[in-house]
Amino acid sequence: MNTEIVFLFLQQGIASGLVTGSVYALLALALVIVFRTTDVANFAEGEFYMAAAYLAFFLIALVGLPIWAAAPAMVVGIAVAAGLFQRVVLRRVAAARGVSVNLVIATLGLSYVLKGFVRATGFGDTPRSFPSVVPDGSVTLGQASLSYLDLAILGAALAVMAAFFAVFNLTRTGRAMRAVGMNRRAAQLVGINLGRTERLVWIFAGGISAVAAILIAPKLLMTAEMGGVVTLAFAAAIVGGFASLPGAVVGGFIIGIAENLVGLFVSTRAINVAPFVIIMLVLIFKPQGLFGGRLRVRKV
């Protein structure tokens, strides 16, 4: 492999990795905010994202809405559905005072329900797409080529992340979420409504998943199995440190870039293995994740 090709591979691998990585980062963000605030690993995250893509597809292809109307309607729809899931299912499961794994099982159940529902519509088996809002064409950055859609995905993902960080750090609602994540009992004692805050977290997570879907579905295509990409979001969250929001974002980018560089310089067969090798390395050398802070030992 000559130097010119090495540079081409590096530039294109990193540029394309940033684009797919931004979507992993969005999904990882949605996972982490739910986990941090409610201690629930949301195994339905991928299916929220899948259902969002199909909802947009139905609104565009069947109802005939233009994409500028379908996209916000879909984001609101999925966010509300996520909030309802928390209100109707998770709250009851939590109130039953069973083991906390019941909450995780409830999300797993939801993932099967959503997949089954999409399959039942008859549209879930053939890979599908819906029209992208971005025109065809590409730009060249150095030797790397990125389509306008790639740039839109990266830009929109960064904007959503920035908006979420602003809400999380600068608003009263965001501070309430952080407080619940730090110490639920103390947060309740100072007057924070736990139920409402948790519901808001689920609404945010649903909304972020929906944005990820509308960005990436025209690029990666929709199938009922597309939620499987959440495995990479979990990998991103673990690499970043499961409770760290900046960690989730950086983890997403690391996974996206690593997939490409491993595919280009090692083997395309190793692309799917790369995220898990990274997880292992992180767990061996920095078990709390890259942004997980210092390892603390609690006395029990």
Binding site: G17, P127, T223, E225, R269
Partner: protein, 404 residues
């Protein structure tokens, strides 16, 4: 008439009844008026597109034969099971058909990897099994005495044919080849490698996972390899991603999409989006002519007549529908050749001497004692995102099983 004579007459009548009576106790699924055939395939689930209408096609062919008088006076009776293209369900369906329904032979299987799970049971039971459209390489090589398949094409033959086309028709000296990193991919790569070596061309393979999300690495590597043509031998979704990415990264050499990736051409064009991506694209087809063309019109007409409700639905008949016909034709021919008193052994013997042109597939249907994969050729079409233009001739694989 003496008592002795009466006994003799009674014995003679019984013997005649035994000879003329087609229903032999040791041949399940046969009655004087019917032959019971067990059919299985994906009637539901994610892989329904691979087999639902293929089964309908085989059934409508049997109905046609029944209307024409059946086989040596017997009507074909079909018992159907859903295998969802899932290995466990395939085995369950086969066992039920053989043990509970007592079928005479099996005519089923649309998904290449899951059907292999039924191999051991079928070999043990001795029931003749003629696959529908599964390539089923894993059950066909090494050849088993009672299993026949690849009526559409085997994976090895697919790989060989597509390399034959790229090297002979497109004059490619270096062929980039993207397949999957599973058994399916390994099989088609084996055929592709053999044909490339035989034709004196270089093959540059890259294997990817069927669940890949970012195809930048394989496409960029293929572009950097300086290949004269790119063959995409993946499933539909990765193939569409690769086609899109190839256009984005400025790959301007001919691209050949193997038959595995083409479940729905219209959807393929829609998903890729840009017409520019189809400037130099060829698709592999295992049918003898363009789907819906005059040569194959009788199949589509028969489908409309048999399934008027289905024919009115979008996406029906499904792309692979005609693939069910040659398999059913082979079963009918073998049953006819086995004579008025067929046994499973006679049918297997007849199957081993199969050699006919179905008029449906690109190449002849040939089965011998040592080769149980029926069809090895493909036709090719230039696809511009809307229409198909046929490339003259058909391109066959020369890979043969050498024993391993």
């Amino acid at each position: 008439m003496t008592k002795h004579s009466l006994c003799r007459i009674a014995l003679a009548v019984a013997a005649l009844a035994g000879l003329a009576g087609p229903a032999r106790a040791d041949e399940p699924g046969l009655t004087p008026t019917t032959i019971r055939i067990g059919m299985f395939g994906p009637l539901s689930g994610a892989s329904m597109a691979y087999g639902f209408d293929v089964m309908n096609a085989a059934r409508m062919y049997y109905d046609k034969i029944n209307k024409e008088g059946g086989i040596h006076g017997r009507k074909i009776e079909v018992v159907q099971e859903d295998d969802r293209c899932n290995a466990n369900d395939v085995v369950a369906a086969v066992k039920k058909l053989v043990e509970q329904d007592g079928v005479f032979l099996l005519n089923g299987g649309s998904c290449s990897a899951p059907v292999v799970a039924a191999k051991d049971y079928v070999v043990r039971s001795g029931v003749p099994w003629v696959m529908l459209n599964a390539s089923g390489d894993g059950a066909l090589y090494p050849p088993q005495p009672n299993i026949y398949g690849a009526f559409s094409i085997s994976q090895r033959a697919m790989g060989g044919s597509v390399v034959e086309f790229a090297s002979k028709e497109l004059k490619a000296k270096k062929i980039a080849y993207i397949n999957h990193d599973d058994a399916y991919g390994a099989w088609n790569l084996e055929g592709a490698r053999f044909q490339a070596k035989d034709n004196g061309v270089t093959l540059v393979p890259e294997a990817v996972s069927p669940s890949i999300t970012d195809v930048t690495a394989p496409v960029l590597k293929m572009r950097a390899s300086g290949a004269d043509a790119l063959v995409i031998a993946t499933y539909a979704r990765p193939a569409q991603l690769i086609l899109k990415k190839a256009q984005e990264l400025g790959f301007n050499k001919p691209i050949v999409i193997a038959v595995n990736a083409i479940a729905n051409l219209k959807q393929l064009a829609e998903n890729v989006g840009s017409k520019d991506a189809f400037r130099n694209v060829y698709i592999e087809e295992v049918l003898a002519a363009k789907p819906g063309s005059e040569k194959l019109a009788w199949i589509y007409d028969l489908y409309k007549a048999n399934y008027p409700d289905l024919a009115g639905k979008p996406d029906h008949p499904q792309v692979y529908m005609p693939y069910g016909i040659p398999s059913a034709m082979t079963v009918v021919r073998a049953l006819q050749a086995a004579g008025p008193n067929p046994t499973r052994a006679k049918v297997i013997e007849a199957l081993d001497r199969t050699d006919f042109d179905s008029g449906v597939m690109a190449g002849p249907i040939v089965l011998t004692k040592t080769e149980h994969a029926a069809q090895k050729a493909s036709t090719y079409f230039k696809f511009d995102g809307e229409g198909l233009t046929a490339v003259p001739g058909s391109f066959a694989s020369r890979w043969t099983y050498q024993g391993q």
